[in-house]
């Protein structure tokens, strides 16, 4: 899956472009774990991810858990309607910090 990384103050913003599904999730997982592995606060932009499946959700959960063990923050931003629907169905919408935009007050 295509992605873009950029530093934004004290956080690393990773934006994925395309579906996060069985085919693309292994790549997305590597990117996410590498970002969190840098011991930085990570914000994942899901505005250009029209589809998220259970394997994509699993990758997000794994990165979230790694960030917790490292004491860094991990948040999602601009989550597309379909991706939000899946997070809600998986009851993860209350687990992840989800911001409506990059300008959210606590910055992720």
């Amino acid at each position: 899956v295509q992605h873009e990384l950029r530093e934004d103050g004290k956080r690393l913003v990773v934006s994925f472009q395309g579906d996060l599904d069985l085919q693309s999730s292994p790549g997305a997982r590597r990117v996410l774990l590498e970002c969190v592995g840098r011991s930085q606060n990570v914000l994942v932009d899901l505005s250009a991810v029209p589809y998220l499946d259970s394997s994509g959700v699993a990758s997000l959960v794994e990165a979230y858990q790694l960030s917790r063990s490292r004491g860094t923050s991990f948040a999602l931003v601009s989550v597309s309607p379909r991706a939000l629907r899946v997070l809600e169905l998986a009851r993860l919408d209350k687990v992840f910090a989800i911001h409506s935009s990059l300008d959210a007050p606590d910055g992720g």
Partner: protein, 140 residues
């Protein structure tokens, strides 16, 4: 009196990850054509995707030679989807959604299927190998 049945979609594809996007698109399109809203059509496409993933992972154990057959029908006010494979027969008791109380990766797919579909169950077949999953979504 039997309900009028119409065949909406019939597909046969390799049990591979790269096939799933096309399968989702086809299912979503047919669901929308039957009056499902965007969320409902997306839910049905997701259920089919997740069920195919279960076949790819647990049925064929990533054997790329495996194939999956999908059939989608409209029966009265219901969309009925069948997924057939020729993987070793699964024990339905082992296909159970896990508790979501603790966030952890894995095991979410079956939960998603059961949450969005009105029915999802394995149908007994006469053959020794293979599985037939039947899923139903009522159109509201």
């Amino acid at each position: 009196v039997s309900e009028p049945t119409s065949l909406l979609l019939e597909m046969r594809f390799a049990a591979r990850a790269e096939e799933l996007q096309g399968v989702r698109d086809a299912v979503r399109e047919q669901a929308a054509s039957q009056g499902c809203g965007a969320e409902c059509a997306g839910d049905i496409a997701m259920a089919v995707d997740e069920a195919c993933q279960n076949i790819i992972r647990h049925g064929y154990r990533w054997d790329p030679e495996g194939t999956i057959e999908l059939r989608m029908e409209r029966i009265g006010q219901e969309l009925v989807l069948f997924l057939a494979d020729s993987a070793p027969t699964v024990d339905p008791a082992r296909v159970k959604p896990r508790s979501l109380d603790e966030p952890r990766p894995g095991g979410i797919g079956t939960h998603l299927i059961r949450t969005v579909m009105d029915q999802a169950e394995f149908v007994k077949t006469s053959s020794e190998r293979g599985n037939l999953l039947r899923m139903v979504k009522r159109i509201r």
